[in-house]
């Protein structure tokens, strides 16, 4: 779509959406938000990029196909349960540590996996729908 207003607007809104999605992802542990909501907002940002610059450009930004993002996210979410199984004897049991003064742990890795998974799933749908429109 070739519109100056849209192009200029998207330049401001797209980074805003990405920052907001990361904010939602990190805040999700104690307050509303989390990997799913964050992933949806990030996918909306990439969809906006695709609508403005063409879906081919959005695919180039992703670097890998959305299926790889789904696999990576799902793999990360499953792997985040393994430390709990090994150290506490219960799959997905949370293990917390401190990294540079910030409390991090396996739940964050799980949320990150969900985040990547949701981006992959939503963009798979968006790309499929956009290709259907062109055919």
């Amino acid at each position: 779509m070739n519109s100056l207003i849209l192009r200029t607007g998207a330049t401001f809104v797209m980074p805003l959406l990405l920052v907001f999605s990361v904010f939602l992802l990190i805040r999700g542990h104690h307050l509303p938000g989390g990997g799913f909501a964050g992933g949806l907002v990030a996918a909306a940002s990439l969809t906006l990029y695709g609508l403005v610059n063409g879906m081919g450009a959005a695919k180039a930004v992703l670097r890998a196909s959305p299926e790889i993002w789904i696999a990576g996210g799902l793999g990360l979410a499953v792997l985040s349960g393994v430390p709990g199984l090994v150290l506490r004897g219960s799959f997905l049991a949370p293990i917390w540590g401190t990294l540079g003064g910030v409390k991090v742990g396996t739940p964050l890795a799980f949320d990150l996996g969900v985040y990547l998974l949701v981006i992959g799933v939503v963009l798979t749908m968006v790309f499929a729908l956009s290709e259907e429109g062109q055919a």
Binding site: A44, L48, L51
Partner: protein, 89 residues
């Protein structure tokens, strides 16, 4: 005027706007009218959530309104693209 009163007044006004947008959404002779109505409804919902956050004294709810506003923007653009493509054919 007290803050709850202002929030309630804003909610009342935005409810009217939302009802009018719904009427346009249902009647709207063309697709473009419906898309505009949906966009207005989205923005109104974002404003209503902000007023509710003020009323309930819950700052967390403001972020919900922010998410609605940002995603409604993307939705409207997707619809606009859909309309543009339909006209080409």
């Amino acid at each position: 005027m007290s803050v709850p009163l202002v929030a309630e007044a804003a909610l009342a006004v935005m409810s009217v706007a939302f009802a009018m947008a719904t009427v346009r959404l249902l009647r709207g002779p063309r697709l473009a009218d419906r898309v505009m109505a949906l966009d207005l409804a989205g923005v109104t919902v974002a404003g209503m959530i902000a007023a509710m956050a003020l009323l309930h004294n819950q700052p967390v709810q403001v972020d919900v309104g922010l998410a609605v506003a940002l995603v409604a923007f993307v939705g409207t653009i997707a619809f606009a693209r859909f309309i543009e493509k339909g006209e080409e054919r």
